[in-house]
């Protein structure tokens, strides 16, 4: 379970590079930087000169997952059901074609990666990311347009509402318990 687009909303956000792509407050759109502080309702983005406090509610964040994260991402893609990956066949193929992977295995990995990033729709990933505390439910998840420009970087767009939770509680799977 490494940091993948599927696990992002339950994983550590501190240290990730993020950008505000849409916000209720127009002044916050375009704010980019590393997440340095997370509170229940806000993220603090350090853009190098100042730290901007951005509310999670009403904001769409684009997180940048790189390198080792991307490797983990492939891992995550492996565990996904075949039907999901098959559904994105054409798109994945074009993605893989664009990158000139040197070996067949690399290309296969690339394909998986690509399909994973295209098929990021809340409705498609209920099995991968079980619902957690009331504030973050599956339907409201808006992490869809995960685009990718380089081999090792994946951009994931997340609706800030799905992150509304205390930082230490976000990882937990309230409601998954069998002890009832």
């Amino acid at each position: 379970m490494s940091l993948t687009p599927e696990t992002l909303t339950r994983h550590e956000l501190n240290g990730l590079s993020a950008r505000v792509v849409d916000a209720d407050n127009p002044d916050l759109v375009g704010v980019a930087g590393r997440v340095v502080v997370e509170t229940q309702q806000t993220l603090h983005l350090d853009d190098g000169t100042r730290v901007r406090q951005v509310p999670k509610r009403g904001t769409a964040f684009e997180f940048e997952l790189v390198d080792d994260d991307a490797l983990g991402f492939e891992h995550g893609a492996d565990t996904r059901s075949a039907s999901e990956t098959a559904g994105d066949g054409p798109g994945a193929a074009t993605e893989a074609d664009r990158v000139d992977a040197p070996t067949a295995t690399d290309e296969a990995a690339e394909r998986r990666k690509a399909s994973g990033s295209v098929s990021k729709r809340g409705s498609e990933t209920p099995g991968v990311r079980p619902g957690q505390s009331g504030s973050t439910h599956e339907g409201s998840r808006d992490a869809d347009s995960a685009s990718r420009d380089r081999q090792d970087t994946v951009y994931v767009t997340v609706d800030g509402v799905t992150l509304l939770s205390r930082p230490a509680h976000r990882t937990e799977t309230t409601g998954d318990s069998r002890w009832r």
Binding site: T7, E12, N14, P167, A168, T171
Partner: protein
């Protein structure tokens, strides 16, 4: 490795980087968050994490900067600027 364990790992790295960059309070918050995640998920904190953080004030300890390391008879003593002393056996 579970997500919680990975978060603790990442927070450890972040705390170390923040302490090295002179952001002691931020490092403290990372350490506290890591502790909180560990206790909520019933995970054991990594030994390295335990030895480089202060149990009393949650500071990320940097020997020579905000911590003193002394080799005593039978144990290592590391004392934080806040006065807390942790002792570890050799080996």
């Amino acid at each position: 490795m579970s997500i919680a364990a990975e978060r603790i790992d990442r927070l450890h790295t972040l705390a170390r980087a923040a302490a090295a960059a002179g952001e002691e309070e931020r490092a403290r918050e990372y350490v506290r968050l890591a502790r909180r995640i560990a206790e909520r998920n019933r995970l054991r904190l990594p030994d390295e994490f335990k030895r480089f953080t202060c149990a009393r004030c949650d500071a990320y300890l940097r020997p020579g900067v905000n911590a003193r390391v002394r080799t005593r008879d039978g144990h290592v003593a590391i004392s934080c600027d806040c006065g807390e002393i942790a002792r570890y056996p050799y080996d």
